[in-house]
Amino acid sequence: MLEVKNLQVAYGRVRAVKGISFTVEQGQVVTLVGTNGAGKTTTLKTISGLLRPEAGEIWFEGKRIDSTPAHEVVTRGLAHSPEGRRIFPRLTVEDNLRLGAFARKDKAGVAKDLQRVFNLFEILQARRDQPAGTFSGGEQQMLAIGRAMMSRPKLLMLDEPSMGLSPLMMQRIMSTITELKSEGVTILLVEQNAQAALSLADYGYVLEVGKIVLQDSGKNLLVDEAVRKAYLGED
């Protein structure tokens, strides 16, 4: 479904992503794990069109998208919930969600998906008319995921959904991802919390300073000695 080939991305002279390749198949949850500065966020931003690669190719559903403008990438069925949630703080919850469906023309479908998001996150329905900036981090994360769902994506990219959340809230977000997975949503998940991400991923890639150093099924990576040492805090 998504195929990234030898992707290289630079900020000025600093190369953040140094030639990585990976694939995401329909219905899978694939995760990119790694420490800060490994190039995970840069990779997602390049896939969604916010950044342009120096070299390499990005293919989505058989079409090359690495020179497609960001606002068109989303219409192809690729939604990106960015790092730090980035909800629109002075717009209401409902306006935030409706903006997620900005590119869609099917009003009935949008209304249905809005209800679906409200069913998934009841707190959002209760507070639909409140400005999103007044929300807690966890609630903002729910809104950000819900907003990304509103485009009815074929592939959902989540960047650090657990960042800055309480353990309880983190569990809630992770169980939501599991729920989305069981509904058949294809997900590309970027996480610093390798334990949580690998436990629910079908397949994982470990990034280190812009390169993929390890790849395997989530289950295998979780028990991999090198991964345990480097990312799961064991010695």
Binding site: S48, G49, L50, P69, A70, H71, E72, V74, T75, A79, H80, P82, G84, R86, I87, F88, P89, R90, L91, D95, R98, L99, G100, F102, A103, A132, G133, Q140, R147, S151
Partner: protein
């Protein structure tokens, strides 16, 4: 009574500032650019309205000319605003802030000189190197109204009504339409707006066009009120309107309207200051003193800035 008179004068002057100030604020809210050429867009709005009037044969002063002139002014102002955005500002979108600012000053001088040198060359058009009499349309100019001793010029009333209509239209556009919400989203977080499928280039054009359309209304109102227009009328008016936008909180549309009205009233009230620092000669001084005070004690403006922030 004198107080009421000055209040009315101030509000109508402020309405003119407010109509122009909205353009500064919407553009700033989206691209963080102080478009110093916006005063010239207001001037071009006035000249566009005049040009259409000159092109329609018969030199009619009928009220029916008013909407025709308004459309002419808007087309000229919006056209020039979009052209400057495309040619001068867009190539500098990712340049350091100083570059587009200096460009804006250049665009401002260019537009003034262009109108000064070019407008009068068109066959049948008057010399544009000096002030040109503006057609005094019936009903909206002429004998002033007198309500309980307070004199209200017809053109002043026209300006206030125009502001009220424009403000209402803006409110509905920004808060109730899909495009308006996309504009708010872009102003709050342009990158994330792109992820929603919003074409940010298009939103920026909408912001420029919107500001220019309102400036054109102001250009027409200015011509009716001051009975003539000239190529440099955008300079001081633009500066005052920019002050009004900062006063209200730049980036905040309601703030631009409030800031414009407050600035107009403060200028008018300067006549009450006794002694050598009072009178209309000092009105500009007091207007900018107000700006300095606001910047020192409430830098975000009266209603608070709505610049991009991240929660």
């Amino acid at each position: 009574m004198e107080f009421l008179q000055q209040l009315v004068n101030g509000l109508s002057l402020g309405a003119l500032y407010a109509l122009i100030a909205v353009g500064y604020t919407v553009v700033y809210g989206i691209v963080q650019l102080i478009n110093f050429a916006h005063g010239e867009i207001f001037m071009i709005g006035g000249f566009g309205a005049l040009a259409v009037w000159l092109l329609v044969p018969g030199e009619s002063l009928s009220i029916w000319m008013l909407p025709i002139m308004l459309i002419g002014g808007m087309l000229a102002a919006v056209g020039v605003a979009l052209l400057t955005e495309r040619v001068a500002y867009r190539p500098l979108r990712n340049a350091p802030r100083l570059a587009p600012l200096i460009t804006a000053i250049g665009v401002s001088i260019f537009l003034q000189e262009f109108v000064r040198l070019f407008f009068g060359r068109i066959p049948g058009f008057p010399d544009s190197k000096r002030a040109i009499p503006f057609p005094q349309i019936e009903y909206v100019t002429g004998e002033a109204f007198n309500i309980g001793g307070v004199t209200i010029q017809r053109a002043a009333l026209f300006t206030l009504v125009a502001l009220a209509i424009c403000a209402g239209f803006l409110y509905v556009f920004v808060n109730k339409t899909r495009l308006g919400r996309a504009m708010q989203a872009t102003s709050q977080d342009p990158d994330t707006a792109r992820l929603m499928g919003i074409n940010v280039d298009k939103i920026i054009m909408v912001a420029f066009a919107l500001g220019a359309a309102l400036a054109a209304v102001a250009g027409l109102a200015h011509g009716l009120r001051y009975t003539n227009i000239d190529f440099k009328m955008g300079f001081l008016a633009g500066l005052k309107a920019f002050t009004a936008a900062v006063l209200g909180g730049i980036g905040n549309i309601n703030g631009a309207v409030v800031g414009g009205l407050v600035l107009g009233v403060v200028e008018s009230m300067a006549t009450f200051i006794p002694g050598q620092f009072g009178g209309s000669a000092w009105k500009d001084v007091w207007a900018f003193v107000l700006l300095i005070l606001v910047l020192v004690f409430r830098p975000q403006g009266l209603l608070g800035a709505r610049v991009v922030d991240r929660a």
